[in-house]
Symmetry: C2
Subunit: 109 residues, 2 copies
DNA sequence: GCATATATGTAAGTAATTTAGGTATGATAA
DNA sequence: TTATCATACCTAAATTACTTACATATATGC
């Protein structure tokens, strides 16, 4: 079966970077936020989320520190680095470029 | 390195199905057509193209027969099956759904 | 006779997911 | 009080699509 898929492959980094570009958030909250904002269309599973966060941190696009949530629990908060902001810009441009191109094919073919 | 990527992962089937939904085409022509229509943004390499065509044929969404091209060469022409038309419809809907959702995250976050 | 564009294909490697686990704590209900 | 749920972190195996790099063959133009 072709997977129903809750994500378009390769867009998760963009979604995460964009989400924490507003304000720092911990992983769980990032996933919730993406789901909410997308009207429950995009589902970020934990198996995709945490590896992505570690990947992004390793590349220096986000950084983390432990903080208390509003509900009084320890959680790892992630924020954009300067390099991350640049990367976000790149990924936004790339997404526009490619999704527009797909739109062209769909409408023109 | 994050790949520059000439395709959004998972969209190639959609692009192929849509392209031959206008009229049957052989593999090489499909790739050329996608590239042209997308203003050279989307590049379908042969290593992605042929396995995708075989995959789609195996799933019964396209069928093929050898014909002569306008340039007088033998080539394998692919056309949509009835099941393929249904699949194309599904994939179009899925693309709209997911790309809109990403748009929401980008604009709202 | 040789290079180039057309045309088909395969194979190894890579990377992002899915699926399926596991651990731990604070809050809520029985 | 103890059981359960939502929150919060994590990893590993498997899947899959794609990239990169080959290999082959024919028609056309020089």
């Amino acid at each position: 079966m072709s997977r129903p898929s809750d994500l378009i492959q390769g867009t998760l980094d963009l979604l995460i970077l964009r989400t924490i570009s507003i304000e720092p958030k911990h992983g769980w909250a990032i996933a919730k936020r993406i789901q909410q904002v997308s009207d429950d269309v995009l589902q970020v599973t934990q198996g995709a989320l945490y590896p992505a966060l570690h990947r992004l941190e390793q590349q220096g696009w986000i950084s983390s520190n432990w903080q208390l949530t509003d509900t009084g629990r320890e959680a790892k908060f992630y924020r954009l680095t300067k390099a991350g902001a640049a990367q976000l810009k790149k990924e936004l441009a790339q997404w526009e470029r490619l999704s527009n191109a797909i739109g062209l094919v769909i409408r023109t073919a």
